[in-house]
């Protein structure tokens, strides 16, 4: 399989660092080989025809033209290859991505809350419980609106810009957004997902190499879109624990609402429409099919 990887490398794709990434690279490779075969096959035919049947060489045309059914075979094989790629690779791969999440205990769960123009990460802390978040608590010091009265949130870790994860452990990122649509793209993890306000979209991956990766916002989100980046650091388990500890200490100081070093992205966009009474405020964004909120929810 490795020789196949040549074409992707040739086209400039940086190496993969997640456990499922090679499968995604393979499907890309197959596609590229398949495209190359079709392209060069037809091109050869094409150039031959243009030379062989140019007017000077072939003063009169043949009304009937090609009578063989070769193209039917060709088209049939295109269908076949596409079907194999689809049924054999693409559909199972996606099913694995969206239906087979690693069990919550095994995996590290992170809430990713995007905003213009940075990614905030919310980790449950040592107790493994996420504190409640509510729009009404949002301030500059508390960008996610962590409820200061919720005991589950006391030890939570909130960071902006940089996220650490341990190597070889599945990571589940639940994506949501405070304002507009962003896209959380981890190139070397070969995973991406939109962060859409009002929705909660989970994605997961397992890093297999330590190192630092760029997090790219892949969806136009305003004038600072080009600068909306984050950092994903894949640590050894030890380094990860150390980072957690450091973060937890920071969090202890400010009661759940941890530091937010803005990554110096440009200033956020335009002011809201009318700065009147406070909005209808749902708590955490709910996944669509989830049951209705238990309490009446005026805003939504």
């Amino acid at each position: 399989m490795n020789s196949l990887a040549l074409i992707n490398e040739f086209l400039g794709q940086p190496p993969n660092a997640s456990s499922h990434g090679y499968q995604i690279d393979h499907i890309l490779e197959f596609c590229h080989w398949f495209m190359a075969a079709l392209f060069f096959g037809w091109s050869a035919f094409f150039i031959f025809v243009l030379i062989r049947f140019r007017k000077r060489r072939q003063p009169t045309a043949d009304h009937a033209g090609v009578r063989s059914g070769i193209s039917t075979h060709l088209e049939f094989s295109v269908v076949l290859i596409e079907a194999v790629l689809l049924l054999g690779f693409a559909i199972p791969l996606w099913a694995k991505r969206v239906n087979q999440f690693p069990p919550g205990k095994e995996a590290l769960v992170v809430h990713v809350v995007a905003q213009q123009f940075s990614f905030n990460y919310h980790l449950p802390g040592p107790d493994g419980q996420f504190g409640r978040r509510d729009v009404s608590f949002v301030t500059n010091a508390n960008p996610l609106g962590l409820d200061p009265n919720d005991p589950a949130g006391k030890d939570d870790i909130v960071t902006t810009g940089e996220l650490h994860v341990p190597v070889n452990r599945p990571v589940i990122c639940e994506l949501s957004s405070k304002d507009v649509i962003h896209d959380f793209f981890l190139p070397s993890m070969r995973i991406a997902g939109d962060a859409i306000p009002g929705l909660l979209i989970p994605i997961w991956f397992t890093p297999i190499k330590t190192g630092t990766d760029e997090v790219i916002c892949g969806q136009l989100c305003g004038l600072g879109h080009y600068g909306m980046k984050g950092t994903l650091v894949v640590d050894t388990p030890q380094d990860y624990q150390a980072w957690l500890k450091e973060r937890a200490e920071l969090a202890g100081g400010t009661q759940g609402a941890a530091s937010s070093q803005s990554p110096g992205a440009p200033k956020t966009e335009n002011a809201p429409t009318q700065p009147q009474p406070s909005p209808g405020a749902p708590q955490q964004p709910k996944n669509k099919p989830a049951a209705p909120a238990p309490s009446p929810n005026p805003g939504g």
């Binding site: 499907i27 392209f39 072939q58 088209e75 649509i181 892949g218 879109h225 809201p272 209808g280």
Partner: protein, 629 residues
């Protein structure tokens, strides 16, 4: 048209009116508020070309920023703030907002004001009635209204550059909530701001397209000449027919969405705004309860059919020119027709492939992946048929044919690179990278635009009675072809390395764009050759523009059928008079009777009756040649 005998009895008073009118039309009624399909076609054509030029100019500005981010644009940089306002390019340096405006308006203008008016409306108006032997469109006044609706829409779009804050800046897709909150608040007029004007302009553009498309369909159904059966229609007419259906059925849901977004902006509703938005640290005061994904669904319900609106007319033009210049019938006419119908049908049920990243589950994404792959099959069939049509031909390399020949592999590259995007798992890596930009530009720029150039060179003699200059045509063709590839091929590499679209800094600040080298340059460095090629390509259009206008008056005079073509438009005088044909044409045969054996000339026009001798001789060749798959 035999029915005219019967029509006359009912029509008589009418006809007299009409006859009078023709002679007394003033200049305004003749050239500006004309109801003649040919004049309207030319109006559409000039408008479309103008906007292609504008769209291209916006892009050349952006290419400066991408190659030399943050540097002042030499020479014209000082002038632009006087045109676009001080916020656009202070000291010749582009602001992020202005970059986003340029990007959104480049996309919008190219698609809706450049290609649709030119490919669909201009060629459709000028050529289709002639090709089907009709005197005009069925509803000439509606036709005129449709052009003027476009004109109003286009004016609004252009105006939006000059309002405070500049033109729309949320991408041509105008995803909400970004689009709904952009251009609001202090310093923005509630109506005269970029995004609101974009929406209002769009309503006019949609109206124009709907009126035009309805007119086309009715014309093709009702006004075909006697003997012109469906299977004798030139392929171009088929492609316009399907295109018109796409517009009629796909545009209205977008219109609904646009009305709703307009309400969100003007009446502060929340069709697309969920509850609990916090913008810039401040909660938004809206009722909430809306859905951002609803916009995306309604947008792409049009968006995908729209891309076929961009390509099908080009297929049609290419088919005509290919048959004409290979002096051979199109190979597999029936399967071509069948394929174009299947594309039309399927294009309505693939739209969610633009939304793979929106948290789609496995069942629905399996459905949309399957339909997306299915729709690539008819495209493969069409392209194969075009290639095979060349076999056994006697190929002439005139200017229209050069563009046509270049179209084929260029579309091939664009289409083939759509295949990895169709697999959502592969798209995980490619979504919204420059790979996407390269994919679709290969289809629309060296694809559709080349098809349009080919069509302009090909039908120019019909419109003016003169030919465009061949030499300057070639001077136009070669640099354009080379530049197109230098522009768009490296974008695949940029995409593979992970560079994203809509990046104001061209990737300067990103590791992915600077750490890895591909073919000797980093992703960011590739911007230089790309941008230079874009500017050189701009220069390469000058011979075309000059050739175009010069040839109207001074081009070589030619007869009514300079290309020795077979379809009915070449039986009309050049330029055709009001009413088009001197006598109602009758079609006796298929559209591409080139190089019929046993004939003196190598082309037999559709209105030449079948001789008894020929009937027996050509029987076997008449239908079975159209091998179906």
């Amino acid at each position: 048209m035999d029915a005219s005998t019967s029509v006359e009895t009912h029509h008589e008073p009418h006809e007299h009116d009409a006859a009078h009118e023709h002679h007394e039309l003033g200049w305004w009624r003749k050239y500006i508020f004309s109801t003649d399909h040919k004049v309207i076609g030319i109006q559409y054509g000039i408008t479309g070309l103008l906007f292609l030029l504008i769209g291209f100019s916006l892009m050349m500005l952006m290419r400066w920023q991408l190659a030399y981010p943050g540097q002042a644009l030499p020479v014209i940089g000082k002038w632009l703030p006087h045109i676009f306002g001080p916020g656009s390019m202070p000291d010749g340096k582009m602001t992020p907002d202005f970059y986003n405006s340029l990007g959104a308006m480049h996309g919008t203008i190219m698609i809706f004001l450049g290609v649709v008016p030119l490919a669909f409306a201009a060629f459709g108006n000028f050529v289709v009635p002639l090709q089907i032997g009709a005197p005009d469109m069925t509803f000439p006044k509606v036709n005129m209204a449709s052009y003027w609706a476009l004109f109003v829409g286009a004016s609004i779009m252009v105006t939006s550059f000059f309002v405070p804050g500049g033109a729309a800046k949320s991408g041509w897709t105008s995803y909400v909530p970004l689009a709904a909150i952009s251009d609001t608040g202090q310093g923005y007029n509630p109506i005269f701001n970029g995004q609101t004007l974009w929406l209002i302009g769009f309503i006019f553009l949609i109206t124009s397209s709907l009126l035009g498309a309805i007119n086309f369909i009715t014309t093709i159904i009702q006004l075909r000449a006697k003997g012109l059966t469906w299977m004798r229609l030139p392929f171009f007419v088929w492609s316009q027919f399907v295109t018109a259906f796409l517009l009629v059925l796909a545009f209205p849901p977008l219109e609904a969405a646009i009305i709703m977004q307009l309400m969100d902006r003007v009446a502060h509703t929340s069709f697309f705004m969920p509850s609990g938005l916090i913008v810039n640290g401040t909660p938004l005061s809206i009722s909430g309860g809306g859905s951002p994904l609803l916009w995306q669904h309604l947008f792409w319900f049009l968006g995908h059919p729209e891309v076929y609106v961009l390509i099908l007319p080009a297929f049609g033009i290419v088919a005509e020119i290919l048959a004409n210049n290979s002096r051979k019938p199109l190979w597999g006419y029936k399967s071509l027709v069948f394929s174009v119908l299947v594309i039309g049908f399927l294009s309505f049920i693939v739209w969610a492939h633009h939304m793979w990243m929106t948290g789609m589950g496995s069942a629905v994404s399996a459905f949309f992946q399957t339909t997306t792959l299915l729709i690539s099959i008819p495209s493969v069939i069409i392209l194969s048929a075009f290639f095979i049509s060349l076999w056994g031909g006697s190929i002439r390399f005139n200017v229209p044919m050069l563009f046509t020949i270049a179209f084929l592999p260029m579309f091939g590259i664009g289409g083939l690179t759509g295949i990895p995007l169709a697999f959502n798992s592969a798209d995980l890596y490619l979504h919204d990278t420059y790979y996407i930009i390269a994919h679709f530009h290969y289809i629309v720029a060296p694809g559709t635009i080349f098809g349009l150039f080919a069509g302009i060179y090909y039908w120019f003699p019909k419109a003016t009675g003169r030919k465009m200059n061949d030499f300057w045509g070639k001077v136009h063709f070669w640099p354009t072809l080379i530049c197109m590839n230098v522009i768009f091929l490296p974008m695949f590499l940029q995409g593979m390395v992970g560079m994203h679209r809509r990046w104001y800094d061209g990737g300067q600040g990103w590791n992915v764009a600077n750490e890895h080298t591909i073919w000797g340059l980093t992703g960011f460095q590739w911007n230089h050759p790309i941008s230079w090629a874009a500017w050189i390509m701009g220069l390469a259009q000058i011979p075309f523009i000059i050739n175009f206008f010069w040839s109207i008056k001074h081009g070589e005079k030619v007869n009514d059928n300079p290309w020795e073509a077979t379809t009915l438009e070449w039986t009309a005088p050049s330029p055709p008079p009001h009413g088009n044909f001197l006598t109602p044409p009758v079609a006796y045969r298929g559209p591409y009777e080139y190089s019929l054996p046993g004939r003196e000339r190598d082309y037999t026009m559709q209105n030449e009756p079948v001789e008894p001798a020929e009937r027996s001789r050509r029987k076997p060749a008449a239908e079975p040649v159209l091998v179906s798959h």
